[in-house]
Symmetry: C2
Subunit: 196 residues, 2 copies
DNA sequence: GTCTATAACGAGATAGAC
DNA sequence: GTCTATCTCGTTATAGAC
């Protein structure tokens, strides 16, 4: 039944390539042709799996959010202290940066004005999910005494996410992780007692 | 000698419109046609003033940097304490956000991989200028005692800029300044003794 | 300094064969 | 599930008239 050797996971191969292109070039900086060329298939094959760019984009964000949620669960089951879990959270972002990428949803936040409604909603959902998780982490740290959180947990969570997204963004023109590391070092020093 | 009523400042009118479009939609999210339509001129007229999109973009960044430098000088001549000057610096970003815009160079940092070299250099120059100014401000605050700066001034300056750019970025999908305000409130509380 | 007209290309998208 | 072929549109850009 199979004519081309790839099978049912062509869709995820497409998502992999498109994801990287969006993270590097932005949603308006890549095309179906770019993805097709890289996979050795035609644009028409792409339209079979994803009817349009907006639908592809929406699936991209939802998959990214699911993978991010998995990473957060892995952190929940990992480091014992809230301080260590916060450091692990920062490390997730750092790994993305080292691959030469921006956070997918950070990039799409920049492109936000040009996105169709379903994609917008998915981007908002990603940030809400992250805010809630980080806020819970900070609450936990306040309780077990491993973190110093002086403001409402949700406000503090937004600060953490904004700092990480901003650090990734500003690190891009400098083409080094040094800027990112300086920001994260300060961020952790602010929340972790004795880390200054 | 003048056939159309506008005169020599058509160029700056073009820059005004293009600047806003880039700040809202990104460099790959606007076209010569968009700018021409809004000004009631043709694309050909645009090409007369700016041979290509890359040249327009470069002029855009340089003008933005000059205006930003003016704003920084105004702050230097304004508030007496370093703490107040830091707050004034944050307020510059806040005003941009309230206009529904992203920082021009923050947006271009996202688009960075797709930019031609001259534009990239201009974007890097903008961030270097800002880092240096903020670092000087923080040094001054450490000296006069109005700011608490525990890390190297340049690292701390990068934290400030990353937090502001990140706060603007993340505020976009939420379509409110509340996220931005939460971040800036925390930022100031970190540097200004007694502000927590 | 701005226009009309058009070139040259790439984008997203579709029809229909295999 | 992927192809070829094609469509339509928007993009950047240029030539030459006014």
């Amino acid at each position: 039944m199979v004519t081309q050797e790839r099978g049912a996971d062509t869709a995820s191969a497409i998502l992999d390539v498109a994801e990287r292109l969006v993270q590097q070039r932005g949603f308006n900086g890549f095309s179906y042709a770019d993805v097709a060329r890289e996979l050795g298939i035609t644009k028409a094959a792409l339209h079979y799996h994803f009817p349009g760019k907006a639908e592809l984009g929406e699936r991209l964000v939802r998959r990214y959010g699911e993978r991010f949620a998995e990473a957060l669960r892995a952190i929940d089951d990992g480091p014992a202290t809230a301080a260590d879990r916060l450091a692990a959270y920062c490390e997730v972002y750092r790994r993305v940066l080292l691959e030469g990428r921006m956070c997918l949803c950070g990039m799409l936040a920049a492109d936000y004005d040009t996105l169709a409604e379903p994609m917008r909603a998915a981007v908002v959902g990603f940030f809400e999910q992250n805010e809630a998780w980080v806020a819970g982490l900070l609450e936990g740290g306040r309780t077990d005494g491993s973190l110093v959180v002086t403001t409402p947990a949700l406000d503090a969570a937004r600060t953490v996410i904004a700092a990480l997204e901003g650090a990734m963004l500003v690190a891009r023109p400098f083409e080094t992780a040094a800027v990112f590391d300086a920001v994260v070092g300060r961020l952790l020093a602010d929340f972790v007692p004795g880390a200054a």
